[in-house]
Amino acid sequence: MTEERLIDLQKLALAVRENIVRLSTDGGCFTGASLSCADLLVYLYSHYLNVNPSNLTDPNRDYLFLSKGHDVPALYSLFAEIGFIEPSRLANHLQAKDHIYWHPNTHIPGVEFHSGSLGHLPAVAMGVAMDCRIKKQSNKIVVITGDGELNEGSVWESALVAAAYKLDNLIWIVDRNYFQANVATEELIPLDPIHKKFEAFGWNAIDVDGHDFNAMHETFTSIATNGKPSVIIAHTVRGKGLPSIEKRADRWFCNFTRDEVSALLTELHENKLAELNSETLVVR
């Protein structure tokens, strides 16, 4: 990737993070989880997926399914920057007149399927992947799950079936930020080694730094289509970009005051730690 492109991606990621921070008030949103996924989404929609506001009904487009639905602030923040939705719509967050709420829904252009209940969209993506294969189309079907989401039995059911049906047009990304809702994953239901688990299920498994655009580009552009579905374990940091909330179990869902949002925006730009007094919320 050229230096120029890299700078463009970094600028876009910064704008997305600003939007996420601005959504984290007046009711709040899943700030920490969204920040871990932001760079992944920026990369995928900018450089990898053949999907844009003008081809959303084209059966030959690529599909992205966000199974960790609570990352919707990252998705919509990006959609507002790349033309899927009017940026002004983000101001409708949690207002009944619009559909900008805590989980994705198909009222928003670019959302392929609603989510929120964990462990659903791997199977839905497999249905789409199966149809594309029957029709001999070469679309890429991408599904993003969380790492905590791997607690759900249905994801392992799906992993078995996708391998059995050799769905090599399916790419499953695990946003590996080492946290689930309220606790560190390895302290509750240890998941490592995720890589070996998927390999044992018959998948290609690749680890990547989910904040390094060059590394992601190298990884995603070299995914094998060898009769096996592929899982990309994207190593990320919950709260990435805001050191005052990074890697904190209690900053999954955040509802900051307006002043704190201003301080966090300053932190985002200057890496100067914000002082936060808002109570942490337990929403799950």
Binding site: P59, T106, E112, F113, H114, S117, G119, H120, L121, P122, A123, V124, A125, M126, G127, V128, A129, M130, D131, C132, I134, S154, E157, S158, L160, V161, A164, Y165
Partner: protein
């Protein structure tokens, strides 16, 4: 024509159809051998949730998946997937539940789908059907599968006793007979036994009506209102829990229409049924023709208004 012949005929004529199963092949065992259907036959293994999620994904792409599993596991193991993936998106996924109600005979309570009508009709937009026998099922399915709605059908391979009205419409019941003393409302595999019970009661000089409810959601409100007005006693016979099935549907319809009527259930009240051979189940639980007739007479005697002399 049987189920398998019907589904292969429809799927061969319309490539939107995908035939799926969670490794329950009883109704579709020969489909994989039909070359033109081979890539539209998907057996996901014993994974009801994944099957439903995949069916939703296929429907997103314009397909009409017809999915098969035992009724208990289809409607309950995968319930949240049906509600969330199929229901919220209102996708035309067609569910066929094998061995519903008493048809699970000797399997035991793990396999008893006797709350399936209740939970499936609780999903907005989900249609629910329970044909009286195999012929009735073959009559109903083309229209059910042609609709753009999600639908759940109780599979029923019981051999037909009567020739059914061929003009099936979604939301319409089949009125077999009108009666002024008693009217039976029933569906599914109990239909034949209720038909015989009607004959037993008629031999005793009673005027007995019978309705094959077929389409439980949408339901034929007009027929329910009519029989409630014209019969002294309406008996709802169902292999389902008393809560949430046809008895509840009738209660909802009458309440909505501000009607009071003597409506009594012959169903499973807060209990699973005794697992055994089907004939033994029906005998033990009181659903043979003779027992349905006797229980109905008992209800008539205990609930009918006393005639003033």
């Amino acid at each position: 024509m049987n189920y398998e012949e019907l589904i292969s005929k429809i799927a061969l004529a319309d490539e939107r159809f995908i035939i799926m199963t969670a490794e329950n092949r009883a109704l579709i065992r020969n489909i994989p051998k039909i070359p033109a259907l081979a890539d539209r036959f998907i057996d996901t293994g014993i994974t009801e949730q994944t099957m439903i999620g995949m069916a939703a994904g296929l429907a997103l792409r314009g397909r009409v998946p017809v999915v098969h599993a035992l009724a208990a596991f289809l409607t309950m193991r995968a319930y949240e997937f049906i509600r969330t993936d199929v229901g919220i998106a209102h996708l035309p996924v067609k569910l066929t539940g094998f061995i519903p109600g008493f048809l699970s005979d000797g399997n035991g309570p793990t396999h008893q789908a006797i709350e399936d009508v209740s939970i499936m009709r609780g999903i907005p937009g989900m249609q629910v059907f329970a044909p009286a026998d195999e012929e009735d099922m073959i009559l109903l399915l083309p229209e059910i599968w042609d609709s753009s709605s999600p639908a759940y059908t109780r599979a029923n391979l019981i051999k037909p006793l009567i020739t059914h009205d061929k003009n099936f419409r979604i939301g319409k019941a089949e009125v077999i007979a009108e009666g002024s003393t008693i009217t039976f409302l029933t569906y599914g595999m109990l239909f034949n036994n209720v038909f015989y019970a009607k004959q037993v009661l008629e031999a005793q000089g009673l005027s007995v009506g019978l309705v094959n409810m077929r389409s439980l959601k949408p339901v034929d409100e007009e027929v329910i209102v009519r029989v409630a007005k014209q019969s002294e006693l309406v008996v709802v016979v169902e292999d389902h829990f008393t809560t949430g099935g046809l008895y509840s549907i009738v209660a909802e319809v009458l309440l909505k229409n501000q009607l009071t009527a003597n409506v009594q259930p012959l169903s499973l009240n807060e209990q699973w049924f005794r697992p055994a051979r089907l004939s033994e189940v029906l005998e033990y639980e009181g659903f043979t023709p003779e027992k349905i007739a006797a229980r109905t007479l008992g209800i008539l005697e205990s609930t009918a208004p006393k005639i003033q002399l």
